[in-house]
């Protein structure tokens, strides 16, 4: 012990210098990105906090009004409706593509021939730009010329307040599930094949193998995907904006489209900033919970 301390004491000046040098080099490499982050992330973030406390049209001077925008958001029925739609969106977006992705990946993992071809086919909707997908589906869902119409169903999927949100969500699920399938397949391929052999020897069938070997084996990937799904749900915007613009009559409105309308149509950019920050706070809470559970070893159980 004494020797070690003495030895450390002898080496200390050189080692400390080396540590300092490597730290300086590390910071030097980080510096450009940090500066960039300060300019494009931190600066606008601080500005957003300030504007959320003001009555600001989005142009010209802003008038400080304290927490008025936040209290308004709490009582605004449009915000409540949009938040509810975000929750519905999360339930659907978090379950349908996940289930389809898992099933697709598992089936694909059993296939040896043409696996690459199927993977590519699954992936195509995800690669196509959302604006293209949305425009095509808008036509496909038309009540007078779309797919349904060809089969004698003239329902107006996007024009009916009862189905507009679900219809847009369907298109997003269609766009997304192939991506999840490929991610899950990659995770499944990392599972030790001996585990399947052992399960088989123990008399486990395909379903039991899936439940007892596959799912635990891809647990970290699944948890990461769930986390990302929550974040993507809160950010949901492009498909809704292109296909329904939140309509009809707000029936597919989510917080992000409402925010856009407030900022650019209603000239209430201060209020839009408050809505945006509220959503950021919700995302931060979710991330914090995830990090906490991760530290507790939840992913690896």
């Amino acid at each position: 012990m004494t020797t070690a301390v003495a030895g450390t004491a002898v080496r200390a000046p050189g080692a400390a210098r080396a540590r300092r040098r490597s730290a300086v080099i590390g910071w030097a490499f980080l510096a450009p990105l940090l500066v960039l982050n300060l300019v494009v992330v931190l600066g606008p973030s601080i500005a957003t906090v300030y504007y959320s406390l003001t009555d600001w049209s989005g142009l010209g001077p802003a008038e400080f009004i304290g927490l008025e925008n936040y209290t308004k958001a709490f009582t605004d029925p449009d915000v409540h409706q949009a938040l509810l739609h975000n929750v519905i969106w999360f339930v659907l977006f978090g379950s349908v593509p996940m289930a389809m992705g898992l099933l697709g990946a598992y089936l694909l993992s059993q296939v040896r021939r043409f696996q690459v071809l199927f993977r590519a086919l699954y992936f195509i909707p995800y690669v196509v730009a959302s604006v293209v997908n949305a425009a095509v589906w808008k036509m496909l869902l038309s009540p007078t010329s779309g797919i349904g119409h060809q089969f004698g169903i003239d329902h107006s999927w996007l024009g009916d307040t009862a189905t507009s949100l679900f219809s847009v969500n369907f298109v997003v699920d269609w766009h997304f599930w192939g991506f999840l399938a490929v991610i899950f397949l990659a995770a499944m391929q990392g599972i030790d094949p001996q585990l399947y052999d052992a399960a088989s020897v123990d008399g486990a069938g395909r379903w039991q193998q899936f439940l007892s070997v596959t799912l635990p084996g891809i647990r970290p990937t699944m948890i990461f995907v769930i986390l990302m799904t929550v974040i993507w749900t809160l950010k949901a915007f492009d498909y809704i904006f292109i296909m329904t613009q939140g309509g009809p009559a707000g029936s597919s409105e989510v917080v992000s489209t409402l925010m856009y309308k407030q900022a650019f149509n209603e000239y209430s950019a201060g209020y839009a900033a408050a809505l945006g920050l509220s959503m950021t706070a919700i995302t931060a809470v979710i991330l914090a919970v995830y990090q906490y559970l991760r530290k507790k070893g939840w992913e690896d159980e």
């Binding site: 989005g58 142009l59 009540p143 024009g159 329904t244």
Partner: protein
């Protein structure tokens, strides 16, 4: 303040700057030196962002506007960038806030441009208007809409009105006459509907604000321009039954399946599909703005693989007390100068060229239907002979409406900005039966009263014959 102004003036008139100016006269010219009025002759690069869509239309602008302007003004380089309509507005608004963006600002309708002006994002054009005599060149009613507190904040870009386009071949084959009043219109709509033909094509799928086109039609041709003038002047309320009934009438046309084939289809069928069905004769009429004239042709004739023809008629009077024909007047879009522009004089040079040459402006109106209909005063005889007779009829009809006073008011020009947004957002609530027509008008009136009190409302043209 006085001391600072004095010292700055002394500095500017100082010997050193004079010497520099004598030595390098071009330097000051390039910076857009101003005369005493604040409006100088500019040169250099001028950025212009536009929402002209389609290769042919952009080619026309590049060749017949940008190139001709640069030929006439070799010292100014007009740099045009094209965007989609919705994108353009968002981009310009964001750029204006950041004190950047184009020199010439293609703004939205008068009512929305007014909001930009109130936020001091647009330059005061009054000195340029005085210098170039714009007030003598452009129609007074349109210029007044862009003047607030005696300051001109933009120039009106395009005269808008609403018309009823119809499939002429279908009308001929069915023996239908052009309706002029509500009874005739409803009889025709019922007959078309009975034959499986959509009486009035309409959709808000590609343009969310399309609902205000409908309200413009029904408020003008049912409630009437007198009632509208009184409401917009604050003399009566938008809760007056004459406005509520107009909203109920729109709703009833949807409920009967006459408009768009029903509310659900209005929210779901893309406008391209409606246009194609219009060309085929599956849609009889389309209530649309003058701008539609530059698009409707694609749905008819050899290109659309049919032998049908289109035409337009004035919107029928929907109440006996309302005149026929009546044309609602408004301005679609504006051209202003960015307050943050470093080349305001050159931007004004372009605007003066664009608005100042009456002959060239009339030729553009003749070449491209509706797109270039700037509000200038002209006699019917001035219209170039090489013009589509249907386009010519729009110009002569509007001239007559202005001279006789038989005109109404479009929502996107004469309503204040937030009220204008509620016109179409709130209408969706009515059509989906979330609120009643009376509640819609009540909220509309609340917003209008609030914005009118703030002064965020364009100057309304006086009733009667106007210039």
């Amino acid at each position: 303040m006085t001391a600072r102004s004095f010292s700055r003036r002394r500095f500017l008139t100082g010997a050193s700057l004079s010497a520099a100016a004598i030595a390098a006269p071009g330097v000051l010219t390039a910076c857009g030196g101003s005369d005493d009025s604040g409006a100088g002759s500019g040169s250099g690069k001028v950025d212009l962002w536009l929402d002209i869509q389609g290769d042919a239309n952009q080619k026309y602008f590049n060749e017949q506007v940008a190139a001709l302007f640069e030929k006439a003004n070799p010292s100014v380089d007009l740099n045009t960038t094209y965007y989609k309509g919705d994108d353009l507005r968002r981009l310009v608004q964001t750029a204006l806030q950041a004190r950047s963006g184009p020199d010439v600002v293609r703004g939205p309708s008068a009512t929305q441009t007014l909001a930009w002006s109130k936020a001091h994002a647009l330059a005061d054009l009054t000195p340029y208007a005085d210098k170039y005599g714009w007030k003598d060149k452009l129609s007074a009613w349109a210029m007044n809409a862009f003047t607030t507190d005696d300051k001109l904040f933009a120039l009106p870009m395009r005269v808008d009105t609403m018309m009823l386009y119809f499939n002429k071949t279908l009308f001929a084959s069915k023996g239908w006459k052009q309706p002029t009043n509500r009874d005739e219109l409803e009889a025709l709509a019922a007959e078309a509907h009975g034959q499986g033909i959509t009486a009035f094509g309409s959709s808000n799928v590609d343009w969310k604000a399309a609902g205000e086109w409908l309200m413009t039609v029904f408020w003008n041709h049912y409630s009437g321009p007198d009632a509208l003038h009184q409401a917009l002047s604050g003399d009566i309320k938008f809760t007056d039954p004459v406005f509520v009934e107009a909203v109920e009438l729109v709703q009833s046309y949807f409920d009967k399946g006459w408009l768009a084939g029903g509310v659900d289809k209005y929210f779901a069928v893309p406008s391209q599909e409606i246009g194609a069905n219009f060309g085929k004769g599956k849609v009889a009429m389309i209530p649309q703005g003058g701008w539609f004239m530059s698009q409707v042709g694609q749905y008819f004739g050899a290109k659309a693989k049919n032998d049908n023809e289109w035409d337009w008629m004035p919107i029928p009077a929907l109440r006996n007390e309302v005149k026929y024909p009546l044309f609602e007047l408004g301005i679609g879009g504006s051209l202003g100068i960015n307050e943050a522009s470093k080349n305001k004089d050159a931007a004004a040079t372009f605007m003066n060229w664009y608005y100042g040459d009456r002959g060239a402006a009339l030729q553009r109106m003749a070449d491209v239907p509706a797109t270039y209909n700037i509000p200038i005063d002209f006699a019917d005889a001035d219209i170039p002979k090489k013009i589509d007779p249907r386009s010519a009829r729009v110009l002569t009809s509007l001239n007559k409406a202005v001279s006789t006073g038989d005109y109404g008011y479009v929502t996107w020009t004469w309503w204040p900005p937030k009220t204008d947004v509620y016109v179409y957002e709130g209408l969706e609530q009515v059509l989906t039966k979330k609120i009643k027509a009376a509640d819609y008008c009540k909220e509309l009136d609340r917003l209008f009263t609030e914005e009118k009190a703030d002064g965020t409302i364009p100057a309304l043209p006086a009733q009667g014959p106007a210039k």
